[in-house]
Subunit: 330 residues, 2 copies
Amino acid sequence: MATLKELAKSLNVSISTVSKALNDADDIGEETKKRVKELAETLNYKPNKFALGLKTRNSRTIGVVLPDIQNPYFAEVLYGIEKEALEAGYDTLICVSNESYQQEVKSVRMLTENLVDGIIISISKETLSLKDFAHLSSLASKKIELLQFDRVSPDLDCDSVQIDDQESVRNATQQLIDSGRKRIALISGLGNLNVAKNRIQGYKAALKQNEISKFIKILEVDSLEKTHFQFKNFIEQNTFDAVISIDNKSGIIFQNIMQHHFPERIKDVKIISFVHEKDALLTSPPLNYINQRGAEIGSFSFGLLKDRISNKQLQKQAIHKKLTAKINFN
Amino acid sequence: MATLKELAKSLNVSISTVSKALNDADDIGEETKKRVKELAETLNYKPNKFALGLKTRNSRTIGVVLPDIQNPYFAEVLYGIEKEALEAGYDTLICVSNESYQQEVKSVRMLTENLVDGIIISISKETLSLKDFAHLSSLASKKIELLQFDRVSPDLDCDSVQIDDQESVRNATQQLIDSGRKRIALISGLGNLNVAKNRIQGYKAALKQNEISKFIKILEVDSLEKTHFQFKNFIEQNTFDAVISIDNKSGIIFQNIMQHHFPERIKDVKIISFVHEKDALLTSPPLNYINQRGAEIGSFSFGLLKDRISNKQLQKQAIHKKLTAKINFN
DNA sequence: GTGAAAGCGCTAACAT
DNA sequence: ATGTTAGCGCTTTCAC
């Protein structure tokens, strides 16, 4: 790998001249700049990241902490981040907290030791319920920018990007109502995440707006293993003409259970679920879905973080971006 | 962040003494070592990665190149890698090739510039069909260790880790036969990947072994969008009593299509598919499945790569590890 | 058993 | 407009 030293020797100039020329300093002659840049190009010169990091104290690396990489939604967000970061010449360090507070703290520490310029995080369930954010709030003093997405805690003063959960579910519910549905059940596998609360609020808001007072008991799913049994029971014991699933598995399962055990009832039930476009095709007929726009959330998040890092005189105040979900409904 | 310099000053010894003590050099007194280590502990000293990289020329970082992060199998492998790497104090840089040759070349270059100690890759479809591996074979001369998993090209002389595709599918097919099935259809969405060829061979081997000469036409699925239509046609035009899916989507879809459009026929058909344990629960009844053991593939891969990197006098010759899939069959 | 000094590749303040 | 120099934090050779 070519170094500044080698370039300098070849061109019979000093190392600093080469460095400055490459960085377009304005006290270097145009002619010199040209010669330097050409040689750098042909020798395929790339600055040594370690020397650069040692000197400038920033790494052009960001960290991402995901609660669960096996959740397709987070994988999609990651994809969006990666794409933008690569383009901007940033490296990405990925950590998985596995919904554990301990793991999350470890991950953040690791990223800190690697002197990342910024961190994009979706907070783990455990951290959220423990409400212990010291490992994150201390980042500011270390000059590490922080951005939250999806699972956003209001206790943290930093930029955030998320779907407008309430509005999205309100819309989806409204569409069900517009198609003539009156008894709409809600199923959730999200526990007491804020995300879930907001989505449920959206659901209730839509019902209220349409003066539907009697809504179906909300069904909380615990573990994937028990789901089948729970759903069967629920279907037997309730009448409904629509179902909205606010996580990205239960809608698929629900439809399949109905198809299997209650084929005579399914034609009267409309189901809509938070799933990825592709996963909507896993069922037959395809599911109606609410698209969380993971890739967009990812690229938008990276963009915002990058602006903070490079200090693009953003407003000092935190920016809270909300995208509305896209709804696909037949 | 504490530095060697600061430790040295506090203890009234030289920087080099501190450095040696921390590295357990054997020309440093036990007493001194103890004092140094204690202080390092309390001050939470961590070596600066950039200084270390600059000096030692290795980064304790590995790169991972995945064809598609949104494929749950690759996400699972990544999880396995991450877990081991974190434990071993390695950082992980992740890149996604999106099945594109160009992207893959870019990713590998990026990783090289970051001076990773090794790369774990599953080669993109395009690269595999182009058969152009220059970007990978040149890694050796740069002292970057390489390991392939899942999509393995025999043209590359490096360690590899994968499922024994042929054997796994032979086993699965045999189980179908043992349960009395005779007309077993195979469906694939894998195109002409070697992985697909091997799996199909396993299928044929099992049929041959059991002297079943007439096997059903193999159904190749193109795009997810067309799948539903293709499957419906296929089901109408063929008689079969079992189906084996060798990718990780089509089995789910096939079962759902049957459930929906041919409920009277499905009880006579056994379906088995390469899906993740959790995804097997997406259908009702749950799918029989072949488990690719992604997490294990990941952790095993990292272990092997790490041994190569740290030169644990492995045999010079490449190691080709094959795990057999776990089959879950009722 | 401990320390001084050089140097990894780079930037930037300060000459010239 | 270009060069000299110091120094980022660390390891390592060589001297004491």
